[in-house]
């Protein structure tokens, strides 16, 4: 881990609560880390989990999703949908090779400028400790194995006639998640 690694955090926030809370933090001149870039959406309910995956893919080391407190959503229920979605998405995120500690989910209301500053600073500190998220880059940069990449797969899959034992190889068809980690030689995830 570099000595002065500055994490890059993308934040998907709702317009009515968190964005306004962040405005309030600004009006109150609350100092906070400069690593966060906010993408404004009308409601956390609008957030597709693929936005989060895409953000990681495109270079974010951490992602914040923040909206209104339960029962206070400007559109009544959007934040509940977001919460449910992300409860399930956390597992998918691990499966994708992203440490779920890189994703922060918070409720910040329009009057909670201080809380937004805390969320930003805590997330930046936490992600800084986790280090840069470069699993996808390393995967992309990993050398392509010589020869037929599917040969390894074939010998790994047991055939009806019993031939071809499972060999430890870079890619295990039965355990794609593990295989990916092996290919990158143990990611930061």
């Amino acid at each position: 881990m570099e000595a002065s690694f500055e994490p890059r955090i993308t934040a998907f926030v709702c317009n009515w609560c968190t964005y306004t809370g962040a405005d309030l933090a600004g009006t109150s001149r609350l100092p906070m880390a400069s690593n966060v870039r906010i993408i404004r959406l009308p409601c956390t309910g609008r957030i597709d989990h693929l936005f989060v995956a895409k953000a990681f893919e495109r270079g974010a080391d951490g992602v914040i999703v923040s909206g209104c407190h339960p029962a206070d959503c400007h559109y009544t229920a959007g934040n509940y949908h977001a919460r449910r979605r992300f409860g399930v998405f956390r597992e998918l995120l691990s499966f994708l090779g992203v440490d779920p500690r890189r994703l922060t989910f918070s409720w910040v209301s329009a009057s909670e400028g201080g809380k937004w500053a805390d969320v930003v600073n805590e997330t930046v500190a936490r992600v800084r400790e986790l280090g840069p998220f470069d699993a996808y880059h390393r995967l992309a940069d990993a050398p392509v194995p010589d020869g037929d990449p599917f040969a390894a797969l074939e010998s790994a899959t047991p055939r009806a006639d019993g031939a071809g034992e499972n060999e430890p190889s870079g890619v295990h068809a039965s355990e794609p998640g593990r295989g990916r980690a092996a290919a990158t030689g143990g990611s930061g995830a």
Partner: protein, 674 residues
């Protein structure tokens, strides 16, 4: 081909001090799709807006990005300017480099880099903005006012006088609110009821005001211009159309020992009662919890144990079998004027608050709060206006007034100042001294906040003319010692402890929002802060609006407030409502969802998640006109633009104008490799 114009604002020193605006403009000028980028000192000023207009005309811009303050501040300003220059306002967006950048960071290099990133993100978004037309919807020109205190009454009268109908809903049996409980008001010492009752009567008799008392808001559906409100009219047991307010039922009622809420617990009332003689409407309510007949019914008695009020009523207005009923009203605007309650120092507290054990948890006799003192001083109160202490009815010779009980105290959970207590405590000392000439009034204070017109002179009068003794310091304990109430305080100016044997103590307890405010706020989709007060849209510039279009705030529901301010705020909400009603159609933000019927499979996940019921079924027909399928269709008049449907659609067939998937991905990609 995109031709985006970027304008970077210095905002005087606010942005320029931390962000190198010229550098931001330089960087963004190089961004693909940007044809012009410049920086300027004050973009929102007239010359600033002229820059934008000129650029639109000269450069044929297809989109505009203003890097400056929050879009919540000036998005409308720049959209209007663009529209005047002939550009669709919905391709104009703001990049927030002030609240989200220059104001929260110190490092010029990092702040400038961040500002460039923010600008780039919005440029990519605007490149995908489509021109949109505002949606026009009809407006129901009727207003709902929730709360019938002075603020609610004022708002209702102003809107009604402005030519529109008002529905006024009040949860108590009579309108008037806390102002009707007061004896005299500061700074004029006007008799409170004398100035209030004419307004109450005016509201009651106004041809355009419909009054629902003993009623509460059950449900609110809809949106600005088109709210559907369900009102629960609680069972009164008295027919409002037959009752003539004669009072015979009250005289006949045998249950006479119920603690009177209007007298703040100091007096007694009957089970069937009006709260006070000047009640509007002058129609009593039967309190079933304390009624002999209803208590008997609850116990399962075969025969009704009483019926005296019904016997006494010559108009036959009493009906023991009434139930709560529901009324539905269609309105276009809602004014919330629910007022306040006083903090109770008892042991049982809502989450986050603590009681005052130091002052006895409300169990020490003759320790009362401000509203109770008002009832003692009031001519219509339980003591006929004589200051007599509750425990034994004796005239108190020494009264101690303690300010800031609960207020300004993070330990108790209320960090804010309640604003009105300094003034009403000064008033209380004057009311006391006017009635007990040789009495001693001692006030323990931290500060004296008397900022209104005539207020400072008023507080000085209490000290200089009426002899109130002001001691700067807090009271550490209040307890009973035989016949006196011992008050242990401290005088910080002389550095001495002060022990007073008082006959009575009046606590200026904190002002809090009404109970149940959170539930009401949720019904209205209005946000509230950690103390429960409702949130205004902007504390400086939009103090009477909320972030929910069509819902306005008047009076103490938003923050502690005195009468002149509540009245002013109520009139301000009326102005907003009348402005809203001045056009026949309302222009709505066109950022609504749109379904691609070709790819929609008719699964209707979107319908299930839409909080507004904006999704309808559309038939898909073949060439012969036979229905062969269904797809979803979003009603643009109902959709509020949350985008939840977009996120749940499995086939990505619905998009939200202004926040499409491709726009969001463009923003994410803009940040790549930063």
């Amino acid at each position: 081909m995109s031709r985006i114009g970027v304008f970077v604002c210095h905002c005087g020193e606010n942005i320029a001090r931390t962000v190198d605006c010229a550098a931001v403009a330089d960087a963004l000028r190089e961004h693909p799709g940007v044809v012009r980028a410049e920086d300027y000192k004050y973009m929102c000023s007239d010359p600033g807006q002229q820059l934008v207009k000129k650029a639109i005309e000269e450069d044929g811009l297809t989109g505009v990005v203003v890097c400056a303050c929050s879009p919540h501040m000036h998005e409308t300003t720049f959209r209007r300017a663009a529209a005047q220059a002939g550009l669709n306002p919905f391709v104009v967006e703001m990049a927030n480099i002030r609240e989200h950048c220059s104001w929260i960071h110190d490092d010029r290099e990092r702040a400038t880099a961040k500002a460039i990133d923010i600008g780039r993100t919005i440029v990519e978004k605007v490149k995908q903005d489509r021109p949109l037309e505002t949606i026009r919807i009809p407006v129901t020109k009727r207003a709902l006012v929730i709360g019938g205190g002075i603020a609610g009454i004022q708002a209702a009268l102003d809107i009604a006088d402005g030519g529109h109908e008002v529905v006024l809903v009040e949860k108590e049996a009579s309108i008037g609110g806390h102002m009707s409980q007061l004896s005299e008001t500061f700074p004029t010492l006007d008799c409170s009821q004398c100035i209030l009752t004419p307004r109450m009567v005016e509201a009651y008799q106004h041809p355009r005001i419909t009054l629902h008392t003993w009623s509460e808001i059950e449900k609110v559906d809809g949106y600005i211009g088109n709210f559907t409100v369900t009102i629960r009219k609680k069972a009164r047991s008295v027919d409002e159309n037959l009752c003539n307010g004669c009072g015979d039922c009250q005289a006949a009622c045998p249950s006479r020992k119920v603690a009177s809420e209007f007298d703040a617990g100091l007096g007694k009332r009957t089970a069937i009662s009006t709260p006070f003689p000047q009640a509007v409407p002058n129609i009593p309510v039967l309190d079933r919890a304390n009624c002999t007949l209803f208590k008997g019914r609850a116990k399962g008695l075969a025969k009704d144990a009483c019926g005296k009020c019904k016997e006494a009523c010559l108009k036959g207005a009493i009906d023991y079998d009434t139930e709560d009923t529901f009324v539905t009203e269609e309105v276009g605007a809602i004014v919330v004027a629910t007022g306040f309650q006083l903090y109770d120092i008892g042991r049982e507290q809502p989450a986050g608050l603590k009681g005052y054990g130091e002052y006895g948890y409300g169990e020490v006799p003759d320790v009362i709060d401000g509203l109770q003192f008002e009832r003692l001083a009031s001519a219509s109160g339980p003591t006929g206006g004589e200051i007599l202490r509750p425990s034994d009815g004796a005239v108190p010779r020494t009264v101690v007034f303690v300010k800031c009980v609960g207020s300004r105290d993070p330990e108790k959970g209320m960090s804010y100042c309640s604003k009105i207590c300094c003034m009403y405590t000064a008033k209380h000392t004057m009311l006391y001294k006017h009635k007990v000439h040789d009495g001693r009034a001692v006030v323990f204070y931290m500060d004296i906040r008397a900022a209104g017109k005539g207020y400072d002179e008023f507080s000085r009068r209490a000290i200089e003319e009426d002899g109130a003794e002001y001691v700067r310091g807090r009271v550490s304990r209040i307890f009973r010692d035989g016949d006196v109430v011992k008050v242990w305080g401290y005088d910080t100016l002389s550095g001495r402890q002060v022990v007073i044997d008082a006959d009575m103590v009046v606590l200026a307890t904190a002002v809090r929002p009404q109970p149940g405010i959170a539930e009401l706020a949720q019904k209205l989709s209005v946000s509230y802060d950690q103390d429960g007060f409702l949130n205004e849209a902007h504390p400086k510039l939009r103090p009477v609006e909320t972030n929910t279009a069509g819902v306005y705030l008047a009076g103490a529901c938003q923050a502690p407030r005195d009468i002149p301010e509540s009245v002013a705020m109520a009139s301000a909400t009326a102005a907003k409502v009348l402005g809203l009603f001045s056009a026949d159609e309302l222009e709505r933000d066109p950022s609504v969802a749109l379904v691609n019927e070709r790819t929609c499979s008719g699964c209707f996940h979107c319908e299930r998640v839409c909080p507004y019921g904006a999704v309808e079924h559309r038939d898909v027909c073949d060439m012969e006109g036979h229905v062969c399928g269904h797809v979803a269709w979003v009603n643009p008049g109902v959709c509020q633009g949350c985008g939840t449907c977009v996120a749940v659609c499995p086939s990505k067939s619905v998009e939200l104008a202004g926040f499409t998937d491709s726009q969001v991905y463009a923003e994410i990609n803009a940040l790549a490799g930063w």
